[in-house]
């Protein structure tokens, strides 16, 4: 990789996707015909408004005054010292309104929905964070909001289900398939096909058919843009490594994207190894899956030898997804980013580590990134720098953590 920094590549990595939403062989639009025209309309609106100064001004205003941006870039001094290697900075997306990075995207898509004159909002959710972030912005505009959530996830994320209801959303339990995030996405697509005239579908991660992966990335890229500026202020130079957890890949691509052309910055995406990659019970398509087509795009998937999508496992509902955003598949294949996986057990240890050393209680999703930093930092020099995306706060997971520890309230 380092040799490539000398000669400027003809096309920058950040120029992707092409106009049809392809990142190399990944991405694209693989949907039933009924969705082709609505996706085209969405693409036109996205291209138009993301260059419209008035739209951008309104978005910036919402991000500052409603979401609370910029989020701090915090030097985790004690944790860095304990690990005995690189200096670790945390991008504090947990401090956003609603407690995760998800709201960056919902604020943006909701503004598009408003511009497009849609009156009904739908979303899928796994951990419930995206559902909450969607219900939040819908409440603010007084729009009808329907959130699809797997029956399994409704069980493990009861608190977020109640939050969505308090915010006025209808939460629909999805009983089909494996009753988790992937099935909620199917169900939301079916709703959208049926109600395209008045409905805007806010996808919660950088996956799905074009333009969603690019659009969600662009709304989340505020994370990386801020981090770049902040690290220049703190350290006067770019970081040596970026680390983020990967469910569908939105918080990760949000951090990575503004750095993809900076070849001196190493990139690490951390998937959920669940009970261990060797057990098959995990949610790590990039580490242990194969390319295929699901949910409107070509990407790495977890599938059986007949092409059926297989059940995933992770202690963290937000990572429990058999696919991944297509840009990550491409970054993997061209060798620009490294994808690794950590187990449930390692992630839980990461949760406790950060809580005890820094007084910051992370989401279990983010705890996967923490667990990998715990391995990476000690292999680096003391003057090197890691930026880790702390994608969300852990309040929603306290019940899960307590249950695993054998504690009942």
């Amino acid at each position: 990789m380092t040799t490539q920094t000398q000669s400027q590549p003809e096309k920058r990595l950040s120029d992707m996707p092409d106009e049809h939403g392809h990142f190399g062989q990944y991405g694209g639009i693989f949907v039933p015909e009924t969705l082709m025209e609505p996706l085209n309309e969405l693409k036109q609106a996205y291209i138009h408004y993301l260059q419209d100064p008035e739209f951008i001004a309104e978005l910036d205003n919402d991000l500052s005054n409603y979401v609370g941006r910029p989020s701090p870039l915090y030097f985790a001094e004690r944790w860095s010292r304990e690990l005995g290697g690189a200096k670790i900075y945390l991008k504090r997306e947990d401090l956003n309104h609603t407690g995760a990075h998800k709201v960056n995207n919902t604020v943006g898509q909701m503004l598009l929905a408003k511009r497009m004159g849609k009156t009904r909002i739908i979303a899928e959710t796994g951990a419930g964070q995206h559902g909450v972030a969607t219900a939040t912005v819908a409440a603010r505009l007084g729009l009808e909001c329907v959130v699809y959530m797997g029956a399994e996830d409704i069980q493990r994320q009861a608190l977020n289900v109640y939050r969505m209801k308090l915010l006025g959303a209808h939460v629909i339990s999805v009983e089909s398939g494996s009753r988790t995030l992937k099935d909620a996405l199917n169900e939301a697509m079916r709703d959208w096909v049926t109600n395209i005239d008045n409905t805007f579908y806010i996808i919660g991660t950088a996956a799905g058919p074009h333009p969603y992966p690019a659009m969600v990335r662009d709304f989340q890229a505020i994370i990386g843009r801020e981090a770049k500026e902040q690290i220049m202020t703190h350290e006067g130079r770019l970081p040596d490594a970026l680390v983020a957890c990967i469910g569908g890949g939105s918080n990760a691509i949000g951090l990575f994207y503004p750095f993809v052309d900076d070849m001196e910055v190493s990139i690490y995406g951390v998937e959920a190894a669940g009970h261990g990659l060797e057990t098959g019970e995990h949610a790590a398509p990039l580490c242990a899956g194969k390319p295929g087509v699901l949910h409107g795009n070509r990407t790495y998937l977890m599938e059986d030898r007949h092409g059926q999508i297989i059940p995933t496992h992770s202690v963290s509902a937000g990572l429990d997804y058999p696919g991944v955003g297509p840009e990550h598949s491409w970054l993997k294949d061209i060798g620009r980013a490294n994808y690794v996986a950590v187990t449930d057990e390692e992630a839980l240890k990461g949760f406790h580590d950060l809580t005890l050393t820094e007084g910051i209680m992370p989401a279990l999703e983010s705890s996967h990134a923490i667990a990998y930093v715990t391995k990476l930092a000690p292999t680096m020099d003391k003057d090197q720098i890691i930026i880790m995306n702390l994608s969300g706060r852990g309040d929603k997971d306290i019940h899960t953590v307590a249950t695993i520890a054998g504690i009942e309230f």
Binding site: M36, D197, V293, H306, G307, Q308
Partner: protein
């Protein structure tokens, strides 16, 4: 001449409309499908559309989703489905068979391998729900080289420009999705369908089949008055669901076959009236 083309040519000569039943292969168990296919032909089916079960059938309503789930309990794979068609061809060399399913099982098998195997099994057409022509530059030629008709959907949201594009790649027949929605949706507006068919006819000479929302003999006849073919799916799969687990497999299968035959016969009669 392909079986599908031959079938429509023959029907046209007789001034008749095609009746195209859809069932999911392996639903509710792998034993039923071969017998069901033969019985559907006896009850008036002109073309059989066989669903290939998929774990994530994004375009299907609850009825066909559950059909996929039932078939997958037995692990009915694309290879199994081709095996069933091969058996069907041992005694029926006339009735066209169209596969309807999603891309991923085909990707995993490989386009070439799939097309070859499908041709050898006696498949005539392939409707891949989630691949629009824009993504199918590597796929359509492989199907055509194996003498498989690529069947495409048009929907109420398809613009006239897209219709022309799609019809350029399609052969066999065009499948018009009569409603904005998933399979099994109820509201079907015959006048609206007729208007759309007029536009489709301006861009293609291919026969048009209409599906999604045909429930009974009455709707079948209404659509048959304006289109060359009617496709009926969820109404039949519903009958599978109702009789799937009430009885032993053998008795249940017999009941399902009888019930589906009854509905098809009534539709046949209404279409021919």
């Amino acid at each position: 001449m392909s079986r599908i083309k031959g079938c429509f040519a023959q029907l046209k000569k007789e001034n008749k409309k095609a009746l195209i039943p859809y069932v999911a292969a392996g639903d509710p168990n792998p034993e039923i499908t071969l017998d069901l296919m033969h019985s559907m032909v006896e009850s008036g089916a002109d073309i059989i559309e066989l669903g290939v079960p998929f774990s994530d059938p994004m375009a299907d309503g609850p009825v066909i989703q559950k059909a996929s789930e039932r078939a997958l309990i037995y692990g009915t794979s694309l290879t199994d489905v081709l095996g069933i068609i091969k058996s069907f061809r041992e005694t029926n060399n006339d009735t066209p068979v169209v596969l309807m399913g999603y891309l991923n099982p085909i990707e995993v098998m490989g386009y070439e391998t799939f097309a070859q195997a499908a041709n050898e099994a006696g498949v005539d057409g392939v409707l891949t729900v989630d691949i629009p022509p824009e993504e199918a530059a590597d796929y359509i030629p492989v199907l055509k080289a194996a003498e498989l008709d690529p069947i495409f959907l048009l929907s109420p949201t398809t613009t006239k420009e897209r219709m022309a594009l799609i019809c350029k790649y399609a052969s066999g027949f065009i499948y018009y999705v009569a409603v904005k929605g998933v399979t099994g949706t109820s509201a079907l507006d015959t006048t609206e369908v007729a208007n759309r068919l007029d536009i489709i006819k301006q861009v293609t000479d291919l026969p048009v089949g209409v599906g999604f929302g045909i429930k009974n003999a009455e709707t079948a006849a209404a659509i048959g008055a304006v289109a060359e073919a009617v496709v009926v799916g969820s109404a039949l799969v519903n009958l599978v669901e109702q009789n799937a687990h009430a009885l032993s497999n053998a008795e249940g299968n017999k009941k399902i076959i009888t019930e589906i035959s009854k509905v098809l016969l009534s539709m046949r009669t209404a279409l021919d009236a």
